[in-house]
Subunit: 243 residues, 2 copies
């Protein structure tokens, strides 16, 4: 049986403050944990899983800290609405500095929805984008819902939190594009190896002070009555033309 403090410690990783204090976050479900076991094993701190999952994955577990838990314990540990067999506690990656030159960088300005940020990280990975830079007020990328929506891409794509204006000022030579509602039709643009693409908050878009730093604005033309595209869908469409 799990002691209460263990359950409490893992539950507390839902909060950024506790993730930073402990240097850990949580990844859940067989798909993500299998990916960790196969490719990012050294990042795993501990695994809590149902007996059935342990039986199936026994050959991959040898030296790891694995605790067998009951379905009721899983329900308490899990940050998901529908817990799924296994919870891994994972080491936060070491902080590094983002590099703007010779890179395609996605810059997220105040995104709030964890599902959107996770899907954007997954989409970036799909299109070979290796890094995101996020404004300080963007949802934390190790939030359990972001980790889940990234479908494992959070293990591969580097996500940095910083003052976007300062950072862009320091890299004046790299072209800056802004995804907006009134920009150049994305279908007329050609592929870019080096650029910073600004993606705005779900309702407020990109702050004027950042928009002023963009050399060009880019849009996905639509013909329906809906006001805007979802941020992750818009990012995916723009990346499909620029990458």
């Amino acid at each position: 049986m799990l002691v209460k403090t263990v359950i409490k410690d893992i539950q507390s990783l839902a909060l950024k403050k506790h993730r930073e204090q402990t240097g850990c976050y949580v990844a859940e479900g067989p798909k993500l944990v299998l990916e960790l076991l196969q490719q990012y094993r050294q990042q795993i701190v501990a695994i809590y899983a149902l007996q059935a999952w342990i039986d199936t994955n026994q050959s991959l577990l040898n030296d790891l800290s694995v605790t067998c838990i009951t379905a009721a314990e899983l329900d308490r540990l899990s940050h998901l609405q529908t817990p799924h067999q296994v919870v891994a506690v994972v080491r936060l990656p070491q902080r590094t500095n983002p590099i703007a030159a010779a890179q395609f960088t996605l810059a997220c300005c105040g995104l709030q929805d964890p599902g959107n940020l996770g899907t954007i990280i997954r989409t970036a990975d799909w299109f070979g984008v290796r890094q995101l830079v996020c404004s300080i007020d963007t949802v934390d990328c190790f939030n359990p819902k972001v980790v889940q929506a990234s479908m494992g891409s959070i293990f591969r794509v580097a996500v940095h939190y910083l003052d976007l204006e300062n950072w862009i000022d320091q890299h004046g030579a790299v072209p800056v594009l802004a995804a907006t509602m009134q920009g150049t039709d994305v279908r007329t643009l050609s592929s870019l190896q080096e650029a910073i693409l600004l993606i705005g908050n779900e309702s407020a878009g990109i702050p004027a002070s950042l928009l002023a730093k963009a050399g060009a604005a880019v849009s996905v033309p639509g013909k329906g009555q809906v006001e805007s595209l979802n941020a992750a869908v818009a990012t995916g469409i723009i990346l499909s033309y620029l990458r």
Copy 2:
């Protein structure tokens, strides 16, 4: 004060069974309800809102059934994690038959995630797609989370639930495309006015029996390590090339 039965009735609209029994669903938050008031007023059955929202929107409410509620009552009525000022009970649209000829139709095969279906409806609307057909096992489009993610597009885009195989068989003259992992590069295709685009379940994809009915498969080429794109992002990218 709201009577308990009213609260219970509205809560019950989270379930498809109750939506079908009552002919009603729920749309929440100032954005969706304003859109209803301005464009789809005749669909509104009743509104439950905080005094502040009523004060702001007084001029639009005249003949409607509007009940002032407290924040605590809103918390109980709402199907959202973060309730937002107003809940509208809305009439389900009358059932109609989908038309395949001279239309671009999205066909969803067993999509399970309400956020994905809602975002797909919103994206369809953006690209001027007027209808979706969904397999019977696809999540219901009037599920509160679908309504929310559609950002009002559910009021405009017709969504039909039917036996997809039968329906496609009946419309043999319309080209059928399947969104898959191993299809023709979507960037090489040109715009289509008449087509049925099959979108698969988040993990299982498109069932073989349906895939067999597609004249062509279409894919979004990627270069990262992630297994797949999110279903809504993939749909958005494909629509951006085909519409």
